[in-house]
Symmetry: C2
Subunit: 465 residues, 2 copies
C-alpha cells in the first residue's frame, strides 16, 4: 500500500505555483529535474502551464492519482479534502495550523480524517514537510536550495516526527554522499504512523537500515511488536527525544504529544535490540555502520593506525567507560604478530594497537589486514585511513574496500583531516564502507556493530531453545 506514497505513478499538486519560492513550484521543479516518469497534475484556479505541465483549474478535473500534495493553508485544505480524498490513495496536507494550535485545529483534523476514512484514503501529516524520495525526485520539502543539500539515493529509510531535524540531518550528511531510500515526516500524525512505515520499510528491498526520530509513540505496544519483527531483518536506529523530564515537556510543546517514561522506552529498545542514538550524528553514523558493515560477534578489536597518539586515544575509548565502549583490545596471536613484523612492516609496533608509523605504505595496510583477517583472536577491526603521509595513496580506499567486502572480519574505518579526508570519506561511502571522521565517532560506530552482534546472537540462541 505504501508503494503509492513512496513510488507514486501519478501525483497531483494542489496549489501549484509559478513562484520559485513556493512549495507548489518546488515540488514540480524537483519532479522535472529528476526526470520523474509518472503522471503529474498541477492544480491552480488560474490554469495555464507550469514547467511544461498543463495546470488543472480545479480538483474536479483530476483523474485518480496515487498521491496528492496539498500546499494550501489549513482552512482551504479542509474545504477541498473531500474532493481530493475521492481521487487519491495518499494525501499529504503540508500546512500547519491544525491540531498543534488548539481545539479549532483539532476539529479541522477530524474533518480531514473523516474524508480520508470515507474514501479509503490515507493521510500523511498534516503540518509536515512531507516526503523526499531521492530515487524518484518526489520531494515536498521546502528549503533554500543554495544553502542546503538533499542527499542522493541510498540504503537508509528515515522516519521522523520532526521535519526540520530530519532535513537538517540529511543536509549534514549529504556532503559525504550518504544516501537515503526514503525520508518521511510524520507531522501531526492523524493517520499514517511510524509503526506502519516501519513495517513497510522492513520489507522494502531498497532499505538496508531504518532510522527514526520519535518524541512520542502513537501506540507503544504495536511499536514493540513491529520493531522486534523488523529489527530481526534489518537494523533499526532510533532517537527517542524527550528522554528527560524537561525534554519531555519541550517535546509536548513541539509535537503536542506526551513523551512517556524513558526507562520504559529504553527497556523496550533493549528488548527489541534497537540501537539507540542520542543525537543526529550518531543516528546516521550507526545506520551507516549497520547498513554497510557486518555485526561484531565478540568483544576483541584490532586497531590499525599510522599515528601512535590516535592509537592510544582509541585504545582508551575501546577499553574505557565514560567515555568508552567497554570492549577489549584483541590479544593478537603470535602468528599474526610474527607475520606483521617479519613479512609486512618490520618498523611497526605489532602490539595492538598496530602502529604502522608514518612510513607505512598502501601495501603494508593490505598485508596487515590480510594477517588480521586470519587471526581468530580478532572479532572486529578499526582501521585508520590517514592520507597525510607520503607513502599512502587513494588506493588505500580500494584496499580497505576489498577486505571489507571479501574478508571475514567486520571493519570500521576512521579518518582525520579536512577536505581530502572528506573526499576519501565520500569514496568509502560510495563503496558502502562505514567510514567516520574523528576518533570518537569511529569507536561509537564499532559499538553499534557490537550491539547488533550481541542482539543477533541472542535471537539465534533463543531460537535454539
Amino acid at each position: 500500500m505504501f508503494r503509492s506514497l513512496v513510488k507514486p505513478e501519478s501525483i497531483a499538486v494542489i496549489g501549484a505555483s509559478h513562484n520559485p519560492q513556493k512549495i507548489g513550484y518546488v515540488v514540480l521543479k524537483n519532479l522535472v529535474s529528476h526526470n520523474y516518469q509518472g503522471k503529474v497534475y498541477p492544480v491552480n484556479p488560474k490554469g495555464g502551464e507550469i514547467l511544461g505541465y498543463r495546470v488543472y483549474t480545479s480538483v474536479d478535473e483530476l483523474p485518480n492519482v496515487d498521491l496528492t500534495v496539498i500546499t494550501l493553508p489549513a482552512e482551504s485544505t479542509v474545504k477541498i479534502i473531500e474532493d481530493v480524498a475521492e481521487r487519491s490513495r495518499f494525501i499529504i496536507p503540508i500546512a500547519g495550523g491544525f491540531g498543534e494550535t488548539g481545539e479549532k485545529g483539532k476539529e479541522m483534523e477530524r474533518k480531514l480524517l473523516e474524508a480520508a476514512r470515507k474514501h479509503n484514503t490515507r493521510i500523511l501529516g498534516p503540518n509536515t514537510v512531507g516526503i523526499y524520495i531521492p530515487d524518484t525526485g518526489v520531494n515536498t520539502a521546502l528549503v533554500v536550495p543554495e544553502r542546503s543539500r538533499f542527499p542522493g539515493p541510498g540504503d537508509i529509510a528515515f522516519i521522523t516526527q520532526s521535519g526540520a531535524l530530519g532535513l537538517l540531518t540529511m543536509d549534514s550528511v549529504a556532503m559525504y554522499d550518504v544516501g537515503f531510500s526514503a525520508f518521511i515526516n510524520l507531522g501531526n500524525r492523524i493517520d499514517v504512523n511510524e509503526n506502519e512505515l516501519l513495517e513497510f520499510f522492513g520489507s522494502d528491498e531498497r532499505t538496508k537500515a531504518i532510522v527514526m526520530y520519535i518524541e512520542s509513540f502513537r501506540d507503544g505496544k504495536e511499536f514493540m511488536r513491529v520493531a522486534s519483527e523488523v529489527n530481526r531483518k534489518k537494523p533499526v536506529v532510533i532517537i527517542k527525544a524527550g528522554r528527560t523530564e524537561y525534554g519531555g515537556k519541550a517535546a509536548s510543546m513541539h509535537t503536542g504529544a506526551l513523551a512517556g517514561n524513558d526507562a520504559v522506552a529504553n527497556g523496550v529498545f533493549k528488548q527489541c535490540g534497537l540501537i539507540r542514538a542520542y543525537n543526529e550524528v550518531e543516528l546516521i553514523d550507526y545506520a551507516r555502520a549497520l547498513a554497510y558493515g557486518k555485526p561484531i560477534m565478540g568483544d576483541r578489536v584490532a586497531v590499525v593506525t599510522s599515528a601512535g597518539g590516535v592509537g592510544v586515544v582509541t585504545t582508551d575509548y575501546i577499553e574505557g567507560r565514560d567515555p568508552g565502549i567497554e570492549m577489549k583490545m584483541a590479544p593478537l596471536s603470535d602468528g599474526t604478530k610474527k607475520r606483521i613484523k617479519e613479512e609486512v612492516v618490520p618498523f611497526a609496533s605489532v602490539a595492538n594497537p598496530i602502529d604502522m608509523t608514518a612510513q607505512a605504505s598502501d601495501d603494508d595496510y593490505d598485508g596487515v589486514l590480510a594477517a588480521l583477517d586470519d587471526d581468530d583472536n580478532v572479532d572486529g577491526i578499526l582501521i585508520y585511513a590517514l592520507f597525510q603521509t607520503p607513502l599512502i595513496s587513494e588506493r588505500l580506499v580500494d584496499i580497505i574496500t576489498h577486505w571489507h567486502r571479501n574478508g571475514r572480519k567486520p571493519i570500521v574505518v576512521g579518518t582525520l583531516g579536512s577536505e581530502f579526508a572528506m573526499k576519501m570519506a565520500s569514496r568509502f561511502e560510495k563503496n558502502r564502507v562505514p567510514a567516520f571522521i574523528g576518533i570518537e565517532r569511529s569507536v561509537r560506530a564499532l559499538k553499534a556493530l557490537r550491539l547488533r552482534g550481541k542482539y543477533l546472537q541472542r535471537v539465534s540462541d533463543s531460537a535454539k531453545l
Copy 2:
C-alpha cells in the same frame, strides 16, 4: 627564552635539500612562502643555492643563530651536535631512531643532551615533527601538502607529545579557519618539556587558550604547580591519554613513558581547574569555546532554535546525564516571555527552548537575544544558527557576533548542515564566536564554559578566605 624557539630571528637548517619531498626543502619553502623576515642558513655539503638562499657547506661556516633544525638521521645528528650546540640557542633534531628504539638510542640521546648542557643550548625532541608557528612560517613538519592543511594564525597554543595526532587535529580544524598561535611537538622530550612550555604560553599575549596532548608527565608535581598558576590566567585543555590500563600500555609502546595512575591525574586536573578532553574534537572545541567565550557562572541555559526537534534533543542533553551535561533549562522570566511573544515573534514557542519556527527572520533572532540578555534568570545562551530557512540570511552571523561581543551573556552557537553551514562556521570563527556543527558538540562546549565558570568562582571564593 622560548622566544628564540617560537619567534626565531635566524634559523639554520642542517640537511637542506633541493628535493621537495624532503623536510630539508619543505622547511625552507615554508619560510619563503610566509615571507619570513629573519636570516636563513641552509647547510648542505654540496653548497649552491636553494630557493634563493645561499647554502653553507658546513656547520663550521655558520654564525650564531636562534634556532637550528637538524633533518639528518640519528647517527649524523649526534656527530654534528657539538658544533651546532656551540652556535644555536635552540636545536630541533627531527630524526627518530633515538631513545624510543632502545639502549643504543638512549646513549645517543645522552650525547645530544651533554652537548646542549655544555653550550647552554636547549633541545626540542628528538624524534619530533618539531614546531609550526603560523605567524612566522616556521614549520618543521612534513606532510603531503595536497592532502592536508595547516591552520592559520590564531589564539590557541598546542603542546603535544604525539606529533601525528597534533598534525591530524590541526588539519581537521584548518578547514573551519580555526587558528593557532603555536604548535610544538615534544618528541622524546630529552630536554624541553611540557611544563616549561606551558609556563611560557601562559605569559604569551598572543595565546588565549592552551591545549595539550600528554601520555606521560615529565614531572607531575611541577606540572601541577605550573598548570594551576597558568590556568588562572588562561584556560588549559588537556587530553591525558593512556587513561585505561591497556591504553597506558599502548602509550608506553608509543612514547616509551609510563602513563601513571589516571585517578590521580584526574584529581590533579580537577584541583587545577583544567578542562579534560577525551578526543581530538573536544580538545579544540573546548579551547575555542574558552578562548572566545565568556565563562558561564550559573547552571541556567536558554536555548534558541528554529527547529523544534533540535530544541528537544538539546534540552535532553542539557538536563540529562549520560549523555548530557547536567545543567538546567533556564526558567525565563515572565517579562522575557511577554517581550518575545508580544514584540518579537508571536508565532514562536516562548517556553525554553524558544522555538522560532521556520518563519523566523534575522531580526527576530536579534530581538530574542536582546530579551535574553536582559533576563537575570539566564546564565548562558545556546543559539542555533540554521541557515536553511528562507527568512534567515548571512546577516545572522553579524547579529549573533554583536551579542557575543556586546551582550552580558555567554553565547555558544550551534549549527547543522553541509557546505553552507561550514562556510558560516568559518565566519563565526573569524569573528571569534564559538560555533559548532552538531548538537552534541555545541552542548559539550557549553559545559566547558560552565566548568570554567565554576573554577573561576572557586578561585575567587578562596581568595576571599
